[in-house]
Amino acid sequence: MSLLLENVRKSYREPSGHRLPVLGISRYELAQGEQAALVGSSGGGKTTLLNVISGILAPDSGKVVVDGKDIAPLPEVVRDRFRAVKIGFVFQTFNLLPAFTALENVLLGMSFSGRGVDRAFAISLLERVGLEKRLDHTPQRMSVGEQQRVSVARSLANKPSLLLADEPTANVDPANQDLILNLIRDTCKENKVTLLMVTHAMDVANKFDRLDKLADFNDPQAAYQGAAT
């Protein structure tokens, strides 16, 4: 099992002091190498779910097992290192650092893993996404599609077991959408990386063999009412 969520609850404290339940998931799992699209309404908790899975946020309760390890009870500093090593991230807005070249952005992903940087592997990843001639280009000198390809290469820099993609094609022009999507899916398949892609575009989600709707397995109100009784 690559990803297992069990009885995961997450809420936010509102300025008024009340808690706003966002996640209430009794069970969700992905097998090793599996690829799934996750769709949900805006404000439905998709981003919070990705943050909980990646360890950016700790759940209020429950298990978040990634690659066999429950990260929910771990202290933040351990979750940070775990995320660096085991989880890749592709963002909707690419989130490349503007001062860094394509190669440096990929190397940056390696820098925080504690395993040192592998320049040759970083270059091979950029070659894999077709950017062998853009290694020294900063994001400003690259097209939107190229930037997202750098982001894909960076997400795989630490050979993660799980890749989380948050609407990676939403900001890409239609001509590049399929290219980016196929690139993510193919590279994940080649590296046996489990893929969970959040999207609101059904045409994108329909290309996946597995399509999960967040609302089908997330019921925060019930989860918190149950806890209260």
């Binding site: 950016i56 940070d80 290192r81 995320r83 820098s111 925080f112 960076r154």
Partner: protein
């Protein structure tokens, strides 16, 4: 990529702001370096390195004035001593060397108004500062005052006036801006090499020549009064002196005038008539200097001064506070630079919230982003400091010849002051201090919030 290279990238990304903040640090450090270099040169000029003698003996009065007038030649002398007292000193078993000096005249104002020092050749045969002997700048120079109207000049005098061996000049009486010119012409026989001491802006004449210049002879009555005042109860020496004065009166009564060319340029002037302003003394033992000094304290009209003490007092009471004030000023400039680094980085934090969020999402720990911001502020402080240090020393090297020509101070642009060794550790700590608050902001950044901002 380590944290410093990531920090350096960030510094480069905001190159204009980074350069300006680093420049402000550079300015402060540059001023500090220049102050330290000048202070080092002033300190070198105003301490024992300026003179290789143990004692300066002069008329009783202010010890500082005696040192400033005889060693630094920047103050009028207190009063004169009888020339005969020199003989007394030279015969003292505690004294190894006693060199007479007479002051009071200057080169003409248009020639820079440099002080005239009447002395003997022995002055040039002794070290001017411990371990250093006078050298001549010109191959033709002799470093000897062989003839009565010979002159040896310091390097600054030569440079200021374009004088060299063989040139002639006349001098004025009393003060540097006096118009009372002596008729005699002096011929330069030697130009001394630069010493970095007041000797560079001095003109040395034969002591004997000083006595025969017009206006230097005092009325006999006045001389007798002074002799009586100086020797007091020492009837033996007073008797010899007064005897010489009687002989002089007799010669004058016969119409013979000392200073007359027919009498050999006044070389027959009786010793009792001659006066000296100061005597530079080297004693045989350290204890001899103390002994001589304490002996003169009681009942003598002369005093012996250790040249270091008044100057140290001057340094402590006057130069020291000025140096401290300048150091505080430069310290404040650096502090203001630090605040500008703080403001620059702190203001950039809102723009960089997303960057920090990205790094955190990629696995950077809170401590890592904290360290990156801290590294950034220390890079700016150390980088600016290094730039200022190089500029400060570079400027000192470039302007050293000009300063030397104007003031006689020997600036060693690359001389390191011990304070400079603590400069960079201090800047490192300072950089960490000014970067602490922005770094804490980075540390506290909420990743989820930063990524959606």
């Amino acid at each position: 990529m380590n944290l410093f290279s990531i920090a350096w990238k960030s510094v480069k990304q905001r190159s204009v702001a980074s350069m300006l903040t680093a420049l402000s640090v550079a300015l402060g450090v540059m001023l500090m370096v220049v102050v330290l270099v000048i202070e080092g040169a002033v300190d070198g000029a105003l301490n024992q390195r300026s003179i290789a003698y143990d004692l300066i003996i002069g008329a009783k009065g202010s010890d500082l004035q005696l040192v400033l007038s005889s060693v630094y030649r920047v103050q009028p002398p207190i009063a004169n001593l009888p020339y005969m007292y020199l003989d007394q000193l030279q015969n003292d078993r505690r004294v190894e060397t006693a060199i007479p000096l007479a002051f009071g005249d200057f080169t003409k104002p248009q020639h820079g108004g440099f002080p005239i020092v009447g002395t003997t050749n022995e002055y040039f045969l002794n070290e001017y500062t411990p371990g250093k002997m006078f050298e001549v700048a010109d191959q033709e120079g002799t470093r000897q005052l062989s003839e009565l109207y010979d002159a040896v000049i310091g390097s600054q005098v030569a440079h200021r006036n374009g004088w060299s061996v063989g040139d002639q000049f006349s001098i004025v009486h009393g003060s540097a801006d006096s118009e009372e010119t002596h008729d005699e012409l002096f011929t330069i026989v030697s130009v001394l090499r630069q010493t970095g001491t007041p000797n560079d802006r001095s003109v040395f004449l034969n002591l004997e020549a000083v006595y025969i210049l017009d206006g230097h002879q005092k009325p006999i009555d006045e001389v007798e009064t002074r002799l009586k005042d100086f020797y007091g109860n020492d009837s033996e020496r007073l008797g010899i002196a007064l005897q010489q004065m009687e002989e002089l009166k007799t010669r004058r009564a016969k119409g013979q005038q000392f200073g007359d060319e027919s009498m050999g340029y006044g070389l027959d002037t009786p010793e009792a008539m001659k006066e000296i302003t100061a005597v530079f003394v080297k004693t045989r033992e350290v204890f001899d200097a103390i002994s001589l000094q304490s002996q003169l304290k009681n009942g003598s009209k002369a005093m012996a001064v250790n040249p270091i003490r008044p100057i140290k007092r001057l340094m402590t009471s006057f130069v020291g506070p000025i140096k401290s004030a300048l150091m505080v000023l430069t310290g404040m400039i650096i502090a203001v630079s630090g605040i500008s680094i703080f403001v620059s980085i702190y203001n950039s934090m809102s723009d960089r919230k997303r960057e920090i969020g990205i790094m955190r999402a990629l696995g950077a720990r809170r401590s890592s982003v904290f360290s990156i911001i801290l590294a950034e502020s220390t890079v700016l402080c150390i980088g600016g400091g290094l730039m200022g240090w190089l500029i400060g020393h570079g400027l000192s090297v470039v302007f050293a010849p000009y300063v030397s020509a104007q003031t006689g101070l020997l600036l060693d642009g690359w001389a390191l002051n011990p304070m400079e060794f603590v400069l960079f550790p201090v800047l490192l700590v300072f950089g960490a201090l000014v970067g602490f608050l922005p770094a804490m902001t980075a540390y506290r950044t909420d990743v989820a919030d930063a990524l959606t901002s």
